[in-house]
Each structure stands twice: as C-alpha cells, then as structure tokens.
Symmetry: C2
Subunit: 198 residues, 2 copies
C-alpha cells in the first residue's frame, strides 16, 4: 500500500513487539525511517549482534552472552542463596533493585491448569541438581502473587521438602509508596495477615 | 550490568523509539531475545532493507522506496488536487482512510514561534514550483487544529494567494462517533461555527 513492501513489513514486525500496537508501530517506523543511518541501522545491528551472541545459562536459565551467565560466574555472589523466579524479566527486576546477592533459578513459567503447564514443563531439574550437590543454605521463592504463582510456590515447597533445606517465599503486603485506598481486597487481606509489631 | 553489553545496548536503542519507555523496551527486548531466530533476526533484516531502500520523494516529500514516490507516480491520482500535510504520518493516515484521490505535499513541520520554525524551514518550494507549472485546480490544507497548525494554514493561505488557485482547509467540528459532552470548548465552538442546514 503506502511506502512499498519494505516499509509495510517493518511496520508489521514492529507491531508484533509487546507494548506496540499498529498505531505505535507506525510511529516507531516513521521515527526510524526519518533517520535510517543514525537510528535504524544501529538498532538493526544491535539486534543482529544480540541474536547471535545471546544464550541461555545452562545453570540458572538466565539470558546472557556467556554460559554460565555473568551472575553464575561471579565469584562474589552467594551460591548458598538460590532465588527462584518465573522468568528472566523478574530476574532483571531483582537485579535492578540490587536486593539479592545470591544466585537465581529461572523456572520459565508457572504451573497453570488453564494453559496446561505442569511440573514437567518447568525448568526445575537444574535446581534439584544444585540442591543435591550441597552447599545451598536457603531457597527463596520469588514468584508473583497470582493464583498460578501461589500454586507453583506451594508445589515447589512440597517438592523441595525432601532436601531438608529452608524454603522461604517473598513477603506480601502494601507496596512501598502505595496508598491503602487504591489497593485491592486481596492485598489488604495479605497485608493484615502479615502484620508485625510496630 | 545484566546480560552483557549486547543486551544493554539493545534495550537502550529500543527505549529511544517513540512509545517505548525503559520498561516496555525491556519487555520488547526479552520477547526478541527469547526467539532470536524467529523474531529478532527478521526484524533486524527488515530494518536494514528499509534503511537502505527508503528515500524522500523529491516531488512531495513522502517516504518511499522509489522517487518519485508510488503516489506521485500513480497515473490514476488527480494531480490537480494537492493536499498539504504536516508530515508523512499524516499522509499515511489520509491514505489509510482512502479519502483523498489527489496528490500530496509534505511540509515537514509547522510554523512554530516556540520551536523557532519559520517559513524557510518548511518544504514549500516544490509546492510553489508545482503551482507555477500549472494544472493544479485546488490546494487543500490538511494541518492539525492546533495553534501552530492554524498559524501555518493562515500563512500558507496568504502566500499562495498570488497563484490565484482556490485554497481550502479541512473542516472542523465533532469527530465522527464523538459524543458532545466529552469535547473541549474549542471543538464545540468550531462545530457551531461550521453548522450547516440539516
């Protein structure tokens, strides 16, 4: 239609990115087309480099350009503290916050009856192997406070009990900076349940 | 930091696209990194092809892979009807709607005292040349109903008067599908001014 097949294809592929609809894909394509050499080619090259360099860490499931990933290979990280997360985005969030000095295990999903995801679909074998090898002092379950996240944490707690290693889960309650009157009932209930001496 | 320099660079460049902030850039990068061969490389190649193929039409200012662009080169378009738009995005919007069967002139901006954009910064020389060459029956000013758009239409109307060619501007009023009680005062005033026999 307009601008030839190359431009149409660019808009179509951009529109498949999460967070970009047809309208914002056109805006993004226009911004790139206006500066093909300053903006579009550098982005295209960054994508090619990343696509060829990126691999999944065989230890923890993180995405990185080396295997084991830079977190697993970092001698300053505490290997005795394993934090279990659903996906790499959650791992990135914890790393940005800088609140976990141990290592990770990326499950690659949560149990979900609706989506037909069972225990055999989760990347837990490397976690079992690590716990069997010894040296792990605590497993922290850092999954989302959703039905599937809670189900998965419950199942993990059971299936890890045979290792006799303390298993904890992240706390629930009022988010920092959050006003009470905008929170949902479930969060308010969880916050009341998790109360502690002031 | 996380995932190596290649992933960091990809997130940075994606975050510079309009409509993507740091958070959505990370989401988009993760979606691409999860399918490097199915998603990231095709997008990278589409960008490279588009960056090398795209050019600005020397007649109307449209972006296309040929010059003159496919609209200017289309013998079925009415060259006597020139629609003046601010940018290529506006041209695309009119083409998607399929409401203009003539040709276009892309100004590349609007007059703006705040941004220091004067008449010499607008791409109007090709329009003057076309009007001097003859054969144009009407110029339609299709600029946005903003202060800068209105200023530009006013100035264009003046500067085109020497050609003795009818100059019109797009109508203003209630958008199709729009409820009156959500419209701003300016639109309501314009809609009342533009009233016509029912």
């Amino acid at each position: 239609m307009m601008g030839g097949a190359e431009i149409e294809r660019l808009i179509t592929l951009l529109g498949r990115l999460p967070g970009l609809g047809p309208r914002s894909a056109r805006r993004a394509a226009l911004a790139l087309l206006r500066q093909p050499h300053a903006r579009m080619l550098p982005l295209a090259q960054a994508m090619e480099h990343a696509a060829r360099a990126v691999r999944t860490c065989s230890t923890c499931g993180n995405l990185d350009t080396c295997d084991p990933c830079s977190i697993c290979a970092d001698p300053s990280r505490d290997r005795g503290l394993v934090c279990v997360v659903e996906n790499v985005g959650d791992l990135w969030a914890l790393e940005r916050a800088g609140v976990h000095r141990g290592v990770y295990q990326v499950l690659g999903g949560t149990l979900s009856a609706l989506d037909g995801i069972g225990p055999e679909d989760l990347n837990v074998a490397p976690l079992y192997a690590r716990l069997e090898a010894g040296g792990v002092r605590e497993v922290i379950l850092a999954l989302g406070a959703t039905v599937d996240g809670a189900t998965t944490m419950h199942w993990l707690h059971d299936s890890l009990s045979r290792f006799n290693i303390p298993v904890s889960r992240v706390g629930q309650g009022v988010p920092v900076g959050g006003a009470l009157d905008v929170l949902d009932d479930g969060t308010l209930a969880a916050a009341l349940m998790a109360r502690r001496p002031a």
